[in-house]
Symmetry: C2
Subunit: 214 residues, 2 copies
Amino acid sequence: MSTNRTDVRRLAQRGSNDRNAAYEILDAAMVAHVGIVDEDFPVVIPMLCARDGDHLLLHGSSRSRLMRNLAEGCNACVTVTLIDSLVLARSTFNHSANYRSLVVFGNARALRKLEAKRAALEKFVEHLLPGRSADARPGNAGELKATLIVAMPIDEFSVKARSGPPVDKRTDMDLPVWAGELPIITRFGTPIAAPELADATDVPDYIKSLFPHA
Amino acid sequence: MSTNRTDVRRLAQRGSNDRNAAYEILDAAMVAHVGIVDEDFPVVIPMLCARDGDHLLLHGSSRSRLMRNLAEGCNACVTVTLIDSLVLARSTFNHSANYRSLVVFGNARALRKLEAKRAALEKFVEHLLPGRSADARPGNAGELKATLIVAMPIDEFSVKARSGPPVDKRTDMDLPVWAGELPIITRFGTPIAAPELADATDVPDYIKSLFPHA
């Protein structure tokens, strides 16, 4: 869906409302930046994110004012950004970054039923580390009550992206300046066992599989 | 500086107003998420960021509505987040992330003088890739006029961070579940030369130095 709000915001040549592109960005992201309005001031807070079908999931403590506002359906903007590379042009002005971003506007609703909350918490864990939710102990009733989980429809959204080499002015093309892309790679490092972990607890396969060449 | 707005937002045990910590986070970040309010709705947009002393710098096209609002001194919130690791607890509920984040509230002002704008553009390039600003062609008058650059005082801000191993309930400590930290490492990949780059243009030393073991 495209509305005036999303249309206004995007550079026409970089925007799209491709739902699959939106899901791809969200599924590859760990963190969303969540904006709300508090007495005429914007507040932007980082939160872990996940996706359940056509909804974006956020969670936090029931004591968090931001979460309580979201649960009450306040106006919200959730933005997810993946940086793919620095784009080095021959001129300072034409430097850029290759990126993919998703901006979702709307109003979330709180999940109330314990079973829905338990399933959502597992979505978060599974989103960050596939295989983990079958291993860790699931949330119990007390823990689920202490957690606010909200679902925001991925309905009014905008996808923006830049890819490819730098674009320099014709008159800059012969400058003796290296130009190109400097990829930014994010990967997992060697797992660090918790200090009180029982000796017999092996690193599970779903973590080992993150390091195919180790 | 600490105000009610920043106090309200932070979990007491994770918050601080340490200026050096704020600078360290900002200096290590590539992207900030910038929030403004537009007709009662929050709008959160990713932007490259830089720092000039005790000010945070943002830039964009003079045609961008967000940039024009920032230049007019609208209420703004700029948030920078670094994710250091996933924190895997024995229970789903106690999963977390190690991170460092900086939230700055305030009102920016536009840089007007060409010389100040040129210096600020170089701060951006230098922030992302030290050494680059002495190599690439500096901005000319026309380019600087097409760019809005705003400086936001790092005055009303909040730093939050989590570090260290998972914290599990005592009753979960003997579960046969691997627990610990999964570091998230961000690094540069092999540079990709622009397709029309002259053959004689070598990768400069300030880029080679990013790959000490290559």
